[in-house]
Symmetry: C2
Subunit: 141 residues, 2 copies
Amino acid sequence: MVFELVPALAKKDHIIDLKLSTVLFEDNKLYPWVFLVPRREGVKNMTYLSLEDRLQLMREIALVETVMTTLFTHDQTNVAMIGNKTPQLHVHVLCRTKGDADWPGTVWGHHSEPYPADEKVQTIAKIKAAIEAALRNPAYV
Amino acid sequence: MVFELVPALAKKDHIIDLKLSTVLFEDNKLYPWVFLVPRREGVKNMTYLSLEDRLQLMREIALVETVMTTLFTHDQTNVAMIGNKTPQLHVHVLCRTKGDADWPGTVWGHHSEPYPADEKVQTIAKIKAAIEAALRNPAYV
């Protein structure tokens, strides 16, 4: 079967494709927030991935998490695979700051505020450029 | 510096030590729930780990997540690194079931109910034995 994003993920903005994962953007200006979605059909959570794919996913999480911390002010990073409502494996990678809208609670199901259109385009472009630069490090690719 | 669990994690029940991570038990009978804590000093989130440690952590998450799904009824697994309140890297690995106390929301900061003492001891022993059996698979160690 050919891989396809489920509708809840397909409607998010695309940033870049890595070797295994597609990186998507969460349109919530309260948090710098992206997703990694491994392009494997029928994968509901990580137990559906081979160990080899899991290790590649960790390399890609490492790359994206590091990029996000270099681009955005943060006190902590949150990395999570939940998928209760959207059962296609997607890894949340986001930056948290003390005093943000949900601090110190979690962000899921809580505050959300869309970016102004211009700022969204610029933020996606900034993340994409930084990921492309980081991909020059052969440990990640 | 020598590694030490922070107080919020030190008070949890110990299950087993893997090569990199200590596996701890969450005393909440609403969810089969464990933590992996890499024994590295001063690590607040995964960006503090070397890529080699990250890959080993993924092997250990794979082992523990698979063990949990073989032992407990579940519709989904949740794997998350948050650490807003407890800034020592710890990976939540838990089983979710449709209709559970917080379904389909997340579990953090929500419902909790301690195990009866006997059932806690038995559950920890069951998880430990299953992890020991899984460790005979050389891919994980």
